[in-house]
């Protein structure tokens, strides 16, 4: 429990309305988007300025109280769960879009801005922020940067780190620092900016960010390509790219997902297909049309059964709605889902998909694949039920082997979700001790009292 005096100090800093202590509120800030990582904080505080954040950090550092920063709480790694209690610092009210700079294609945002709100605002100026984590309806910019989030559009546009020019952050000791800047090129000293990006809130609190933007593409086109063999679909991904088309998205759904989609919202996907790839291309209208045709040609040449080009925007929307529904279906169909975030180099997708199939058979567990095939981030998900002990154990073993296989094929255990609590045990397994040690030392240097989101990543 925290001292009464700390609560009243917090109230002095942010005002009474911005401090929660009721047990019900503590429960409501005990979770994130994962199923089972739950721990209550002792107090919840909503700062709205950098100065408030700094004063809270100084207070917490002096009292050695843990602080876990949190935005929309949509993350799926346990990263924003206050594992050691203490203060949850919620950024949702620190949420202004400070500036949109059309001339420089940049925007300045506060950490609590929700990505979708930013997208809608930028649209008015014909701009967009390319990284597209699928939690965009709730995810906030501070979290997106701290998790270095990505999404389907990574194939063409990359992930968050490629679109952050600079940040303002408050260190665990309360000092305010500025990393990076407002320019595209910047080689002044160590690239500390990128240590903060993907630090999962363990090094400090991001209080402002300078974003790099792109002009909004004028046209888009969607294709649905049908396969008899999911591994051949995996090959289709790199064949398209090596033949000169870079789609903005390539998503894969397997037979299991196709059938769930058809149950929920029939859109005419072939139920006997082993997999479908959804492609999206964007850009100048004439080019987009050409590229769509070319994808159809290439995929058919390399074993696709059928390539459907969307008739219009509504038709295209249907496919993307289905893709999203597929994701929900996975979570709705099982008591517990181990949704993995492993990512392999694109060329190894077919091998990796075949391995997943073998493992499903070996352990007799349903493992579905629906992921961002375009960047090798396949999200295999094992469906199980903790009540069925035997099944649960087998699912756990299958997941272990999936991760080992991904690493064996030159991949990583997390592409976009981060480590948080969920992937800690694997992180320790696959990371060199010297590298873990380096992370430890960096953390100790910046956060001597270990108060900043303790218990996460390498811990």
């Amino acid at each position: 429990m925290l001292k009464e005096s700390l609560i009243s100090e917090l109230q002095k800093i942010v005002g009474k309305d911005n401090v929660l202590t009721a047990p019900e509120a503590m429960k409501a800030y005990s979770y994130d988007g994962t199923t089972s990582w739950i721990h209550e904080p002792d107090v919840v505080v909503f700062p709205t300025t950098t100065d408030e954040v700094s004063r809270i950090m100084k207070l917490a550092n002096a009292e050695k109280v843990p602080v876990t920063p949190r935005g929309g709480g949509t993350n799926v790694s346990g990263g924003s769960v206050p594992w050691h209690g203490g203060i949850v610092m919620v950024m949702t009210r620190f949420n202004k879009i400070v500036k949109v700079d059309k001339e420089n294609l940049t925007a300045t945002v506060e950490p609590g801005v929700v990505l979708q709100d930013l997208t809608l605002r930028l649209m008015k100026d014909g701009l967009f922020f390319p990284p597209d984590p699928q939690s965009f309806l709730g995810a906030t910019m501070g979290g997106i940067i701290s998790e270095n989030a990505g999404g389907p559009a990574c194939v063409k546009y990359g992930v968050t780190k490629q679109y952050i020019l600079g940040i303002e952050a408050v260190l665990p000791t309360g000092e305010v620092i500025h990393l990076g800047g407002r320019t595209l090129k910047n080689v002044v000293g160590y690239d500390l900016l990128h240590i903060f990006i993907s630090a999962e809130g363990t090094l400090g609190v991001i209080t402002s960010a300078e974003l790099k933007l792109n002009p909004l593409p004028q046209a888009r086109q969607t294709l649905c390509v049908v396969y008899d063999d999911v591994a051949v679909a995996g090959e289709g991904v790199f064949r398209v790219l090596e033949n000169g088309v870079i789609p903005c998205k390539i998503e894969m759904v397997d037979n299991w997902v196709i059938n769930r989609i058809e149950e929920m919202m029939p859109i005419g996907l072939p139920k006997d297909a082993d997999a479908c790839l959804f492609f999206e291309v964007d850009g100048i209208p004439e080019v987009v049309e050409k590229e769509a045709q070319k994808i159809a040609e290439i995929t058919k040449k390399y074993g696709a059964k059928e390539a459907r080009i969307a008739k219009d925007a509504d038709d295209a929307n249907k496919y993307w709605m289905a893709r999203r529904a597929g994701f929900a279906a996975v979570f709705g169909k099982a008591k517990q889902v181990f949704a993995e975030d492993v990512t392999v180099p694109r060329g190894n997708i077919p091998k990796f998909v075949n391995r997943i199939k073998e493992l499903a058979k070996k352990y007799d567990v349903e493992i579905v694949v629906l992921g961002h095939a375009g960047d090798g981030n396949l999200h295999p998900a094992a469906l199980t039920d903790p009540a069925n002990k035997d099944h649960y154990e087998r699912a756990l073993k299958a997941v272990d082997e999936i991760i080992e296989s991904a690493v064996e094929f030159g991949g990583v255990l997390s592409g976009e979700h981060g480590i948080g609590l969920e992937k800690q045990k694997f992180m320790k397994k696959v990371t060199e001790p010297a590298v873990i040690n380096m992370m430890k030392n960096i953390k100790a240097l910046i956060d001597p009292n270990n108060i900043m989101n303790p218990g996460k990543i390498w811990e």
Binding site: L20, A22, P23, E24, A25, K27, A28, Y29, Y31, D32, G33, T34, T35, V44, F46, G72, G73, T74, V90, T92, R93, N95, G112, V114, Q116, S135, L137, G138, R324, A325, F327, A328, F331, G332
Partner: protein
């Protein structure tokens, strides 16, 4: 062992939530408060904690469960299709069961609203004393300053003569021919007490189109405010009275001009049944219920271009507000737009976020009027952006709140039911 019977009934719905948090984007209350206890995910998590024996129905819990408009915007956009409305109503029902309604709700729901005659008597009493409330503009009155608790709220004036006191039991088609069909008219409280002229005009509209209309005087309040507050017992009593009122009238449909009433009557089968027999009875009843918007287009099959605009609205620009009880509870959104777009003599402009709740939420606005004003403020921004002269909708509940907030924001717009616009 604590009684959790009502919660057990909705346990399966609460288990649908995967905690993705997308609801936060759609929740009008979260958008104002920006905290987890405001949003469906948080409320659902806490309900699950009660079910797991980890949380009690504390006063804070009651406040959290109470702070929901039941606008269903989150549910409509939930990837896991969590029926959070049922979770919230179930939790409220459990609270009412365990702790009672509290003095005020007990009096209003069970002593006033639950009985047609007494509701009429109390409304008449209010009508007699409403001169104490200063008149603002036209037929709007606002609460005098001495009722500080409720803030400066504008109410439409209660009618001099209620609809119930001027309506006939049966109306024959005006062309004197054999009726095309026979429908029961469910008046609803707002039409009865505040907009009786409008009720009469709707009857006139129906009889002009060859429909025979019956208006049973045994009908009661639909029960929305009552059962959405968790008083399922009184809700069931009203449901049974209403089912009975129309049972032997041999009507093809039961029609109402109030979106909340139509959705409430349809949804008895969803929220109220305590046993299989009740469920079947309410399901039978549901089949006959039609909101006026779907009735005139889908059943009467009047073509949108055949509606005639009333003279007084010529040259006006109009916009449409989707009532929650129409767009999400009944999936009715195309019919009214088709009429407004086809009506000659007006210009139709779609407002941004037309499906955003107006902030009323029945008794929500009584307990959280400050929030209601903030949420309505966003609606007002949408209305302003259209440059419309008239806000059209099809729910008297929304109309009352929209009128209040148009005045509060010193805006020039008038608010009308769609059927007021046409001959």
């Amino acid at each position: 062992m604590k009684d959790l019977k009502e919660l057990k009934k909705i346990e399966e719905f609460s288990n649908q939530c995967t905690k993705c948090g997308f609801c936060s984007f759609f929740c009008p209350v979260y958008q104002e408060e920006k905290m987890e206890t405001s949003v469906a995910r948080g409320k659902n998590f806490l309900v699950k904690q009660i079910l797991a024996g980890q949380q009690e129905f504390t006063p804070e819990m009651a406040d959290i469960i109470g702070k929901c408009l039941l606008c269903k915007r989150c549910a409509a956009n939930c990837p896991a299709k969590t029926q959070i409305d049922r979770v919230v109503v179930g939790a409220r029902a459990q609270m009412v069961k365990n702790q009672g309604l509290g003095f005020i709700k007990n009096f209003v729901f069970r002593k006033v609203m639950a009985n047609r005659k007494s509701f009429g008597r109390y409304a008449k009493l209010m009508q007699k004393f409403q001169w104490m409330m200063p008149r603002t503009e036209g037929k709007i009155r606002h609460l005098p300053d001495f009722v500080k608790g409720l803030g400066k709220r504008n109410f439409p004036e209660l009618a001099k003569t209620f609809l119930r006191d001027q309506v006939k039991p049966v109306y024959k088609p005006q062309n004197g021919e054999k009726p095309k069909m026979r429908v029961g008219f469910f008046t609803g409280c707002a039409t009865d007490f505040v907009y009786p002229d409008f009720g009469l005009k709707f009857i006139d509209f129906l009889t002009r189109h060859g429909v025979e209309v019956v208006v049973p005087d045994t009908q009661n309040c639909c029960g929305a405010a009552i059962y959405f507050s968790g008083d399922l017992e009184t809700g069931r009593m009203l449901a049974d009275l209403n089912v009975k009122a129309f049972k032997d009238l041999n009507v093809d449909y039961i029609v109402t001009t109030c979106a909340t009433c139509s959705s409430t009557l349809k949804d008895y089968q969803k929220y109220l049944p305590d046993n299989e027999e009740q469920k079947q009875r309410y399901e039978e009843f549901e089949k006959k219920i039609k909101d006026s918007m779907e009735f005139i287009i889908d059943i009467l099959k009047i073509k949108p271009e055949d509606f005639k605009l009333k003279k007084e609205f010529e040259g006006k620009t109009v916009t449409w507000h989707d009532p929650c009880h129409l767009v999400r509870y009944q999936n009715i959104k195309d019919q009214p737009r088709a009429i407004l777009k086809a009506l000659k003599g007006i210009k139709y402009v779609e407002m941004p976020n037309a499906d955003l709740c107006c902030g009323m939420g029945g008794s929500f606005s009584v307990y959280h009027y400050d929030l209601t004003k903030k949420i309505a403020g966003k609606k007002m921004d949408g209305i302003k952006a259209t440059g419309a002269d008239i806000v059209v909708t099809a729910c008297p509940g929304c109309m009352i709140n929209l009128e209040d907030n148009v005045l509060l924001n010193k805006m020039p717009q008038k608010v009308h039911h769609l059927l007021e616009l046409v001959e």
